[in-house]
Amino acid sequence: MPDYTDSDLWRYLDGELPAATAAVVREAAQSDPALQARLDELRTISAAVLDGAPKPTEGFSNRVVAAALLQGATPPTADVIELRRFVRRALVAAAVLAAVGLGYLALEVMPELLLGPDLQAGSDPLLESR
């Protein structure tokens, strides 16, 4: 019988094992009380996670709707949604163009700022130092 790790058993309980492998674990648990006890322990942990979660109080949905109306939290119309998407895309495109333009400016127009006067003149300080 395989020696299952906790990770194997969690994947079994989570339904994440292939069907054939899960069937092997299921059969093994039926004939192995120790393995069954381990599975029961892990199930206890699972059950404890959501234990104590509160339920919505009566009228919660009405209060949410009222708050939405009070705050004027109405969603934008389809036209506004399209306009926002257009503006977002335009801003991204403008940012990309600006970055490309600045890169061109730095390399072609003002190379001394990046490379220094020696490199700009075609010399190589690394070679000169040898």
Partner: protein, 185 residues
């Protein structure tokens, strides 16, 4: 998955939300409120704060429905909004939910016999304390897994992380809880 089967009308509701229909908001709240409360509680771990955070989640959904592009299921997006809102809430909060835990124990004491209740309460207290001690990123994975039994793949989609990250966080969190239970025995 049962989550998907129970939502034949999500696309209709989303379309109505986009028009600002408050009845659509009410329908979304009533359809998802139990699950959103459970998810928020799993991360926030304070019963008193859950309703306020849940209201914030549904208002965000109403205001920002244009951010839902329809490429994922609506509940995936909704759970993402809820998980992020809950985590933001935890970041803003500095105090620990000790008062809430005490109150939960008092509530439970009304529903069980004295000896059984004492043992059960002590086990729950230890497990809850261990869950409270986990970082929110571990609590959210645990909660999403137990919430409707979301698959690793679905949890990864909600949280926008890899399946390997989901498995790793789940394993570490559960091992921590297992240690607590083992010490309890």
């Amino acid at each position: 998955m049962k989550a998907a089967e129970a939502r034949p009308g999500d696309s209709d509701l989303v379309a109505r939300l986009r028009t600002g229909d408050p009845d659509a908001l009410r329908a979304v709240v009533e359809r998802y409120q139990d699950r959103i409360f459970a998810l928020i509680y799993g991360i926030v771990r304070d019963r008193h704060e859950v309703e306020d955070v849940a209201q914030e989640v549904f208002l965000k959904v109403f205001r920002r429905i244009d951010a839902f592009d329809g490429r994922s299921r609506f509940y995936t997006w909704l759970y993402r909004v809820a998980a992020n809102t809950a985590k933001d809430h935890v970041k803003k909060r500095s105090r620990r939910p000790s008062v809430a835990l005490e109150e939960e124990e008092r509530i439970e004491s009304d529903t069980h016999g004295p000896s059984e209740q004492a043992s059960r309460t002590e086990t729950r207290r230890r497990v809850r304390a261990a869950i409270d001690g986990l970082a929110p990123r571990y609590r959210e994975v645990l909660t999403l897994r137990e919430l409707e039994g979301l698959s690793y793949n679905e949890i990864a989609a909600v949280l926008r992380v890899s399946i390997g990250t989901v498995e790793s966080r789940l394993h570490r969190a559960r091992q921590r809880l297992k240690e607590v239970l083992s010490n309890d025995a």
